[in-house]
């Protein structure tokens, strides 16, 4: 369904020295640098898969999504999505996929979401019965029936993202590309969107390619994940295996009810410490026991346990590869 071979994308970037003299110089002597955002990238995705793309900022995830949706043209290499060369931007190709980018809205802010859905119904030539059936299905999944006729600009970020997803899926696309769909959303909205995407993938068989900074999204949704770093693929395989092997610890943050002299448990690594707060890394497999012990041992006003950051996981994979 999706195939790339030695896919490469190089951007040309305008560069100038700081200050007024730099600006004037650049008028007469423009300098450019070249940045390879994606390099010799091979990828094959089959119908019905739910694949996560992970990597730090600037790794090349969004570039890959833009290439797969035809928004930008590759510099070199092979690319085929649903049998099409994406950058030809044929309507028959665009009818079969959808893309949701967390920071680029398709909704008309002055109007209601229902108005945008009607536009999409015509743009994608969706038969009236299919449109109604899909709309009912997605609206009930998100339970947003009472928000359909509310002006989009007055919706919360989470509500707006739900509407973006509904708009994207009304025409029953075979592939859905999601670029950071949960960015900036609270935990509840993130969970709702995760459940929604799981249902869409399972019930409708939609192939989903998801980029996300949130570990939880990738862990709970994607059986397979691809890790990208500096434009190169450094891991492609089982998500469970990736986290078992490379997610070595979790971050525990304790907020004390009163100034406390804290003693770091064995095997942990301190991040921040003062009489009222302490943050440290705990070994992944013993996080739960350590957290319970902390709650028994100290008078706490709050405790948080966070997953390893994606950047750390990527760094470990990278270092591991370099050491092989």
């Amino acid at each position: 369904m999706i195939h790339t071979k030695k896919l490469t994308k190089t951007y040309r970037l305008f560069e100038k020295e700081a200050g007024l003299s730099g600006s004037i110089k650049s008028l007469f002597n423009r300098k450019y640098t070249y940045k390879t955002a994606l390099s010799d990238f091979d990828l094959d995705i089959s119908e019905g898969e739910f694949v996560g793309l992970i990597g730090p900022n600037g790794a090349g995830k969004t570039t890959l999504i833009k290439l797969l949706t035809g928004i930008i043209a590759p510099t070199s290499g092979e690319i085929s999505v649903l049998g099409y060369y994406p950058n030809k931007l044929e309507n028959s190709f665009k009818m079969q996929y959808a893309v949701v980018m967390g920071q680029k809205s398709q909704l008309f802010f002055e109007l209601t979401a229902a108005d945008t859905f009607l536009l999409f119904k015509e743009l994608y030539n969706i038969p009236a019965d299919v449109y109604q059936k899909n709309l009912d299905y997605f609206v009930s999944l998100f339970d947003v029936g009472d928000l359909l006729n509310v002006q989009v600009r007055t919706l919360s970020l989470g509500e707006r993202m739900k509407m973006e997803l509904i708009a994207a899926l009304l025409h029953s696309p075979r592939v859905l590309f999601l670029d950071e769909p949960t960015i900036g959303l609270d935990a509840v909205a993130q969970r709702q969107i995760r459940m929604f995407l799981r249902d869409v993938n399972k019930e409708k068989g939609t192939t989903i390619i998801l980029t996300s900074h949130y570990m939880e999204n990738i862990k709970s949704l994607c059986k397979r994940c691809v890790v990208i770093n500096q434009g190169e693929k450094i891991y492609d395989g089982s998500t469970d295996f990736l986290f078992e092997k490379y997610q070595v610890h979790k971050k525990i943050t304790l907020h004390f009810a009163e100034p406390t002299d804290f003693a770091l448990p064995q095997g942990c690594e301190i991040i921040e410490k003062n009489p009222l707060k302490c943050a440290f890394f705990a070994p992944f497999e013993s996080t739960q026991q350590i957290a319970y012990a902390m709650m028994r041992q100290y008078e706490l006003s709050d405790i948080t346990i966070e997953e390893d950051e994606i950047g750390s996981v990527v760094e470990r994979i990278y270092n591991n590869r370099a050491g092989e």
Binding site: Y11, K66, T69, G70, I71, I72, A73, N87, L89, N91, K94, M95, A98, V99, M101, Q103, K104, S105, Q106, F108, E110, L111, D115, T116, L118, L119, K121, E122, L123, Y124, N125, Q151
Partner: protein
């Protein structure tokens, strides 16, 4: 076709949301009429005709040309395209199954329709209220020719602005192109001065270009003047329309491949 009708509808709906804009647009048009009433009233106090125009003919010409230049909103197209290319949000037009040029034509017509309804209502109310002396042709063929010319002219102007807008793929900042265009168009379309006041040689050259037929000639036809130029006007505008249809298709396909989609 339905999809573009829906694009026009959604643009129209988006305009209605801002009721203050409706009022300002109507007041602006009324102010223009008032200005014409006072200005041309003063000029014609001493003369029966000026450059072959009687007072009612000049007043009517001014009303029509002002009205047409006000509903000619194609400038928004180049602004929207260039800013969305610079901000990296143009991708939203690339991923939907619709032709981008036709999408922008439909979108602009939706906005035009909104202005057409409200400004026309304000203009008619004003002229009736002040019993302004109006001199419009009653010849249905001339009116039809003028309407065809107006539609072709408006579409052409959108095409021109679409072309300038997509130049942002290459140049990013197209404000210099837009400034030159708006000054040239304001003069050549006759929205500042009736073109018949200009030397014949200048008008002959202008007849090759489409701008002459966008505001000036339809306004003249509607007051029953320059009738012999109607067919030529439609042919010239059609030729420019076809030329830009092809040019924009080629330019878009050539330029969009250098789009990086970076911005936000």
């Amino acid at each position: 076709m339905n999809k573009y009708l829906e694009v026009a509808k959604i643009s129209f709906k988006a305009q209605i949301v801002y009721i203050f804009d409706v009022c300002i647009a109507a007041v602006y048009m009324v102010t223009k009429i008032l200005f014409a009433y006072v200005l041309w009233g003063a000029v014609f106090r001493e003369n029966e005709t000026v450059a072959g125009f009687t007072y009612p003919a000049m007043f009517t010409y001014y009303i029509f040309s002002s009205f047409l230049s006000q509903i000619e909103l194609s400038g928004n197209v180049s602004e929207e395209i260039s800013s969305s290319i610079r901000r990296g949000t143009f991708s939203k037009f690339m991923v939907i199954p619709a032709g981008t040029q036709t999408y922008f034509i439909a979108q602009t017509f939706g906005v035009m329709l909104f202005y057409l309804v409200f400004i026309l209502a304000a203009s008619v109310a004003w002229t009736v209220l002040f019993r302004a002396r109006f001199m419009m042709t009653s010849n249905p063929v001339l009116i039809l020719e003028a309407i065809i010319m107006i539609i072709l002219g408006l579409v052409f102007m959108i095409q021109l602005n679409y072309f300038l807008g997509i130049l942002a793929f290459k140049y990013l900042d197209i404000s210099a192109f837009l400034m030159i265009k708006s000054n040239v168009v304001a003069f050549i379309t006759g929205s500042l001065v009736p073109l018949s006041l200009l030397p014949d040689a200048v008008i002959t050259v202008m007849r090759i270009f489409p701008f002459y037929y966008v505001t000036y000639l339809p306004s003249m036809l509607l007051i029953g003047k320059n009738t012999e130029e109607a067919l030529t006007g439609i042919i010239v505008l059609s030729a420019w329309f076809l030329l830009f249809t092809v040019l924009n298709k080629i330019a878009y396909n050539k330029l969009r491949v250098i789009y990086d989609g970076v911005g936000i």
